[in-house]
């Protein structure tokens, strides 16, 4: 009598950024599993039983959801953003990989959502309009040496860089270290977008540059997008528009300096 486990993403907060596919799964569900504040974002009219849990218990939450589905439930695991980007879809599959026979009959489905980087980008134009990468700066789940190496590689290759989990209270100095790595490859005027609480009432998106980026304005509720050497800002009072052109025509890269400017 196994059931179905759907991992959904609500998007970054605004209800009109949540896809109808996700809304429909929520309406059909018998059980909702997720981090408490995300479950609180689900329409109160949704009648499913709610199983809220704390942050940083993703593995327990995933096993609980798999067991509920195995007992015949139509279970929805609720993430914000896209559940496939630094979120619960991987957590569920990590558990499944450890005990594939236990949950052999559970049907697994993932329903994508707008992820925070897309939302922040849309607020200022199209900074992700050309090749880009999405990196988490959290060293809870990977060594800082790996983070530093990746930053150096993508900055050297002149990709636009979207940073998730950019700065926590437990590692406040690392954000400045990360920016210093990027600044080895990019000029001080490189556009930087800082998005906080995008899609929520407290939304605040600012456009600055590498030289003026203030680490004290960055915390875990911000997403930081750093432009490539091709990213441009258009001054349009009262704000600014930022875009990365579809074509890329600088001088060819050199071994010493990364992409020449």
């Amino acid at each position: 009598m196994s059931g179905r486990l759907t991992v959904v993403g609500l998007g970054p907060g605004r209800s009109d950024w949540c896809t109808p596919a996700v809304t429909s799964r929520l309406a059909e569900a018998t059980d909702l599993v997720g981090y408490g504040p995300y479950l609180a974002m689900v329409d109160p009219a949704c009648r499913a039983r709610r199983h809220p849990s704390d942050n940083r218990v993703e593995a327990d939450r995933a096993r609980n959801a798999l067991d509920l589905a195995d007992s015949g439930g139509d279970v929805v695991v609720v993430s914000s953003g896209d559940p496939g980007v630094f979120a619960m879809a991987s957590a569920v599959l990590e558990q499944l990989a450890q005990q594939p026979d236990r949950w052999r009959n559970v049907e697994i489905d993932v329903q994508p959502g707008i992820t925070a980087a897309q939302a922040v980008a849309s607020r200022v134009g199209a900074p992700l309009g050309h090749d880009f990468c999405v990196l988490s700066l959290s060293d809870v789940l990977k060594p800082w040496a790996i983070i530093a190496r990746r930053l150096d590689a993508v900055a050297g290759a002149d990709l636009v860089i979207a940073l998730y989990n950019p700065r926590s209270r437990h590692r406040p100095h690392q954000f400045a270290d990360a920016i210093a790595i990027v600044a080895r490859h990019r000029g001080p005027g490189t556009p930087v977008i800082v998005g906080r609480h995008v899609g929520r009432d407290a939304e605040n998106v600012i456009v600055t540059d590498l030289a003026h980026l203030d680490p004290d304005t960055i915390d875990m509720s911000t997403i930081v997008v750093i432009g490539s050497s091709a990213t441009r800002v258009i001054d349009r009072p009262p704000g600014s528009s930022v875009y990365t052109p579809r074509s890329y025509e600088p001088a060819l890269p050199t071994a010493e300096t990364g992409v020449a400017r």
Copy 2:
């Protein structure tokens, strides 16, 4: 009497992956501007005037949309996927940057959508669950030397790689060249997902690996996602699930070999 220009993304094809924010803008619009096949995806009940155009005329289309908005229209430029990812939002801002005064009073808004890489990923689980990048392999808009350098950098840094515009009739050999660059850093068993027409009736998603990836199955309607050294496949007949774990704990990288395995 200037109006508004909204650049929207319909998502990858399925109507229930299109956000309510986008649906609402389409319903309010006086004019829809876009590549013909994308306009054909918009609900026939939408009564706006339609201005279809061919592929590869993005600059003309953007200027036309800006002029329509400047004349007071509520103009929607229609992309598939996310309009901010290799799509029309950058094309509009590129034109705006060239003549900022001409369109000074046009209000610009971008409404994000599910991009193809997210859709393909969701079909098999969570291959984008950890650090990843999104690259276009088209050399129409950038030199192949830049593409090769970027592939080498991101493969060396062990990022998951999502490839857009992977292989056209005009440059069929380049896809194999791209894979050869990645294969310098990753083993033959590295998971690869090939998604074709995702979100449409003809949808077809296969899971293979670097050694068995057949370039002849790749064209411009496919998205290719190449796993990192941490990406894993769970065999779940009749299909496979693929995920990249949230934590990353391999040996540290070495200068010679990229990330050691």
